[in-house]
Amino acid sequence: MREQLLIAAPELWVLLMACVVMTVDVFTSRERRGIIHLLVMLTLMFAAIITLRGDYHSGGTWAVTAFSETFIRDPMSDVLKLFSFAVMALVYTYAKHYLRHFGLYRGDFYTLTLFALLGVMFLISANSLITVYLGLELLSLSSYALVAFNRESKRGSESAMKYFVLGSMASGLLLYGMSMVYGATGSLELQTISETIRNGREGDVLLVFGLVFLVAGVAFKLGLAPFHMWVPDVYHGAPAAVTLFISTVPKLAAFAMAFRLLHSAMGPLHADWQQMLVLLALLSLAVGNFAAIMQTNIKRMLAYSTVSHMGFVLLGLLPASAEGFGAAMFYVIAYALMSAAAFGVLILLSADGVEAENLDDFKGLNHRNSWYAAIMAMVMFSMAGVPVFIGFFAKWLVIKAAIDAGLIVLAVAAVVFSVIGAFYYLRVIKLMYFDDPLNDKAIEAPVDFGAAISLNGILMLGLGLFSSSLIAICMASFSYL
């Protein structure tokens, strides 16, 4: 038992601390809420240390399971969790500034996000359909509450409602698909499912039927067209700090979920799900990029850009090869970092109790503060996939993976759509550098915020210049395939 608990030590630690934070919050006065923030940052730090200290990294390939094979720890899960912690730290640093500004600096934000993080971690480490579902629900339910976090905001409540209804529907679809798979294979454990299928069940219609529902569930979580409708409304309606969270860490989990369900469990049906994903990828690239062009609201623009980014992630998943999964993983990590920085700058621009959310708010940013404008420019270049920034390598790797798998048409389409997409990223840069500012208010940020966003921005360039180590880590996570 001790062995098993040790394997899940990071999760247990986060669970414990989520409860501690909840309790401490009750006894802390409003003025001393900083303690909670500190506590949460320490939680993340120790969670990272605990993850790193697990002595499974004996080199080469490794994977350990616990709790009757429902929980797995492998190189991919550790890397994704570490990045989740890192991105969460950025999220908290940015969010604190926002919450203070808007009178939302309450303990529930921290509790809810910690539980969501726990969901993310379970999802990443899930090795059974039950764990997948549990992790997903823990994450989703926390997210619904977070979206409605600002009770005063009508738009927030509306989008939370939409998110909840559509999310429940997606959960229903997923659960339905799972039951089909269970019915066909008689197992919930992912490896057993794939073995059973491989032993002569490839042609089973019941399985393909279930697979369609699984794909729909995954597509909803990733925000792929046509299951993307919630994305713009939720991004737009939620407080920026929550959008910041929703657009980053859960994507890491969604990628892991896609990998676990589609490859670990349904690997033998690769030929079937590849076709489905091709369709979803094309639709997402088209819808995401076209719709983003028309947006005047930057949160909606970034929402649609997420849809197209997730289309790119699919490109990496399609070949079901080690290089492909590595590329997709690199892409989601890069995306999480880019998105964190973009929303960080957005939060920075919010002032006087008004959220900056229109593209016009970026006008003349260079005159107001050239450093933050430079950071945003780097983020936009990176998202557009301009070389030397991290986003370029992400796009390059997934497109390469698609080409290696013989999906030339899809790769060409991806390139064309990324050219179309470049328009709305570059428009932000144009607004920042070539337009006159609407106001000359100086932009002020606390020291920790400034340091975090600077680091985040520099990472866009730094990880681009020194991309090979991160790429190697991502590739090594799948070397056992």
């Binding site: 409602m161 939409k162 209804v165 559509l166 529907m169 997606a170 679809l173 219609v205 393909v208 039927f209 697979l211 369609v212 529902f213 794909v215 729909a216 597509a219 909803f220 067209a225 046509p226 299951f227 409708m229 919630w230 713009p232 409304d233 079937d272 076709q275 489905m276 369709l279 088209a286 819808v287 076209f290 719709a291 062009i293 028309m294 947006q295 390598f393 179309i420 210049l465 020194f466 991309s467 090979s468």
Partner: protein, 664 residues
Amino acid sequence: MTLTQILLLIPLLPLAGAIVSGLGRNVVGRNGAHWITIFAVAASCGLSFKILGWHMQGLIGVENLSVYTWMVSDGIKFEIGFLVDHLTSLMMCVVTFVSLMVHIYTIGYMQDDPGYQRFFSYINLFTFAMLMLVMSNNFLQLFFGWEAVGLVSYLLIGFWFKKESAIFANLKAFLVNRVGDFGFLLGIAAVVMAFGSLDYATVFAAAPGKAGDTISIIGGMDWNLMTVICVCLFIGAMGKSAQAPLHVWLPDSMEGPTPISALIHAATMVTAGIFMVARMSPLFELSDAALSFVMLIGAFTALAMGMIGIVQNDIKRVVAYSTLSQLGYMTVALGVSAYSAAIFHLMTHAFFKALLFLGAGSVIIALHHQQDMRYMGGLRRYMPVTWITAWLGTLALIGFPFFSGFYSKDAIIEAVHLSERWGSGVVYWAVVLGVFITALYSFRLLYLAFHGNERFEVVNSDEEHLPDGQVAHAPVESPFVVTMPLVLLAIPSVVIGWYTIEPVLFGGWLDDSIYVLERNDVLAELGHHFHGATAMALHAVQTIPFWMMVAGFAVATLVYQFRPALADMAARRAPGIYRLLEHKYYFDELYQRSFADGSLKLGQGLWNKADAGLIDGWLVNGSAKAVNWLAGRVRRWQTGFLYDYAFAMIVGLIAILGTWVVLR
């Protein structure tokens, strides 16, 4: 510290200095900027000399270190790495030493300039780029350094960006270099195509095996692969090292501040082409045709550009044409396979030409930015240090025995004499005649600036802009930060040739970096006649170049010291030649009329017809309209109603189900 760490520090210190003094220019202030950048360059200079010392003691050999693999694409590695052999360590020392001198000098020269910090940031950045170029162990990094020095050169020529002529000059430098870089890029592409690698060591090792290969470029014509590669690479060198006919940017680059003329456009960047060809000697050795081409281009530049120097009146332009001519000498040396002699001349030239430029700058400060030599004269009484160091630099430049320039230039001329390459007979006389020309324009400069009568008037006013021939205050010797670099550069200008000719040319110092076929090895043959540096200098009086130099000196003395009327008379007697030189062989006019105006017209035509009509009208606006229309449609799907969203999900699900379950 490991060797790799030291080597990393050498270029990264100046880079850090550039970033701090550039981005933080308001934080560090003027003094902060120059202290930071000077410290960075001084440290990297010290470390470079340490590396050189280790090489001299034999503690390290040829170090080929790969620092970081940026990416691998299709088996071709994109790397950052250092190849540190004797050639590299020599170049590193020259670059960082001259750069350090220029940094110090700049404190005095740019004193009142509002762009003080920016300037220091740029020259520090330049030092970084140049070091990356010379330390590279692969073609990609070489190209990075190559473009980066070009960029900084562009920024610095246009440093005074409010000056119309400076903007014209930097655009010109940029465009002309583009032509060269295009060739260079083609050369690198050919290397990648032929060898499948960007790594020097791999390419050089495989080169002999491909010596006889041919490729067909246009319709069936077969070209020797090595010749194509080498000529393309050399076109790059022609752009950067300003060889005719791509030399036109260098004289105009004098619009930039004088310190950078000394650092970039005399001592270091323009010699990058020479360095590159020497580095590529294993490739060039395999193509006699390419080497002949190199030699002829060099000889033409050496002689023709020197002659223009005789008729120039702007003190910096005289030195600039002299630089062109000396670069021609180096190129000739490359062409006759005397790579070591080219590098040797590169080194001595870096010192004495930087000295001459900085001396000219010192004169310019004293005369409040008057650069026309017709309004100078007699300055030796006011600025003795500048005067004496200018004399020393001149003696080195004209190749007076025992001075550094004598050894390097004489070695080149003798190497050409011994060479059996096609065309070397004519080239020999060109370079010998060049010695006469060099002495003529050099002494003309000295006499016009420092000797004779004062041709300016001291008016003691505080006016900003005075007419030519008037200066506000009597000229005074420049401050210590200006004269100190002059003195420190004068020392190597005088002695370094005598001291290093034996190891560099005949002692095999560069044997680990430069590869010469035995039949081409003129320097080895020259070595048989070499009996020490002193004997070589004493022997000089029996050689033609020496008497050519004396003749140049005599003519200059006669004309500019005793009979000034002779100069005008010569101009009147031979108006054709005079006009030809005055217009610099009409290169500028030709390029302006044909390429600049031609491409403008072509551009306008394409813009009107092809671009505005076809591309803008149909492709760009058409596709933009289409995208816009589509985007409008797509946006409309997002109605905001929950049931529409749910409906979309169900439709999607049914579509997938239908396709994969029902139609299966």
